[in-house]
């Protein structure tokens, strides 16, 4: 499943924004994380539940940060990390903890430093 908050975000603007891909297995948490990120003017996030969807999206555009959310098994994480690092070595891959707003901003800001 592919989720994005496109109410106020035009694709043309995403080129100037920090582009973030979130992968996690819990739909409600995924929707919450995407909503929280897209509230920020300079950030744009897309979220997926499945790894093959993540890889397909990742292959199509440049990402600054990948957030790995809950429910991703160790082997799946290794495969994702390997794929992302090979495709876009500049992209930061961050384990997202907490599931909500508390740590999200810190994690993204830290990744951008």
């Amino acid at each position: 499943m592919f989720v994005e908050d496109f109410a106020e975000v035009m694709y043309t603007n995403t080129m100037k924004k920090v582009n973030i891909l979130y992968i996690g297995r819990h739909l409600e948490i995924l929707q919450t994380v995407i909503r929280l990120i897209n509230k920020q003017d300079n950030w744009y996030a897309q979220g997926v539940l499945k790894d093959d969807e993540a890889k397909a999206i990742f292959a199509e555009s440049n990402f600054d940060i990948v957030l790995l959310g809950c429910g991703i098994l160790e082997q799946e994480e290794e495969s994702l990390r390997s794929f992302f690092e090979k495709q876009q070595p500049h992209c930061r891959i961050v384990q997202h903890y907490g599931g909500g707003s508390g740590l999200l901003t810190s994690e993204i800001l830290l990744a951008l430093e």
């Binding site: 409600e28 809950c70 599931g99 740590l103 901003t105 810190s106």
Partner: protein
């Protein structure tokens, strides 16, 4: 992490002092919160964590107000009420109230939603919200709370959390041990770490203490590592301290 050395016998060799007034502060009207570590809009790259201790929020919530339904995952979340009654509801079907003397824990694991409200109509609720990185990701979410005997912490350290379900207090998915003590003036206690390589974050709940030559006042925090034990001395009557022993590496 800053490595500070002081040339005193029995003094701490490695520590990091966080004075209360250097914490992040957020006032949302209904909620006033002090953040020891970076959280929400408070971002300080030098204050990200102490080992696996990632969040230490000192929250005050107005009467009848609270945190609406929100998610958590992959985090051990501990709430310690200091004053007032805090009502908790979660997606596992739990509806509970915790008060001073209780400790609450949630292992968020694969994901949960919950809400927290001040149940009181006539007073603030004050509580600590503590987040610990787990030693295992994607565990089945769980909730627990324990009522502690407050007399068991008078002039001694009462264990309130450990990694072991059979031990005193609540348990979490991490090699962490928490203790609270309430001391008469000039009382000294020794803390022996449970696991080699762990550190201890001391947080002063009330009054004044000295730890290894470092003077601490209410709501100051002191991270200590590279030691197996240390002494704490109270410098006021009724002084209360929370010790959080945690692994220094995730």
């Amino acid at each position: 992490m800053e490595n500070t050395t002081i040339p005193q016998e029995n003094a701490l060799t490695h520590y990091e002092l966080h004075k209360a007034n250097t914490r992040g502060h957020a006032n949302h009207g209904w909620l006033e919160s002090y953040h020891t570590f970076s959280f929400a809009n408070y971002h300080n790259k030098d204050r990200m964590n102490f080992g696996v201790l990632r969040v230490l929020n000192d929250d005050r919530v107005n009467q009848g107000m609270g945190f609406g339904k929100h998610p958590h995952d992959n985090m051990e979340i501990i709430s310690i009420p200091l004053e007032g009654d805090l009502e908790h509801q979660d997606s596992m079907g739990n509806t509970t109230v915790i008060k001073e003397g209780d400790i609450q824990v949630m292992s968020a694991g694969t994901g949960i939603f919950h809400s927290e409200y001040n149940k009181n109509k006539d007073q603030l609720v004050k509580f600590l919200q503590i987040w610990i990185y787990p030693n295992k990701k994607n565990v089945t979410p769980r909730y627990d709370q324990v009522t502690l005997d407050l007399s068991d912490r008078h002039n001694k350290l009462q264990q309130i959390l450990s990694p072991n379900p059979e031990d005193a207090g609540v348990w979490i998915h991490q090699d962490a041990w928490f203790h609270i003590g309430k001391f008469d003036n000039m009382h000294t206690a020794n803390y022996q770490l449970n696991k080699s390589g762990n550190g201890v974050y001391a947080f002063i709940l009330k009054g004044d203490f000295t730890i290894g030559g470092v003077s601490l006042n209410e709501r100051d925090g002191l991270g200590i590592w590279d030691t197996n034990s240390f002494e704490i001395t109270s410098n006021s009557d009724g002084a209360e301290i929370l010790l959080m022993e945690v692994p220094m590496q995730l």
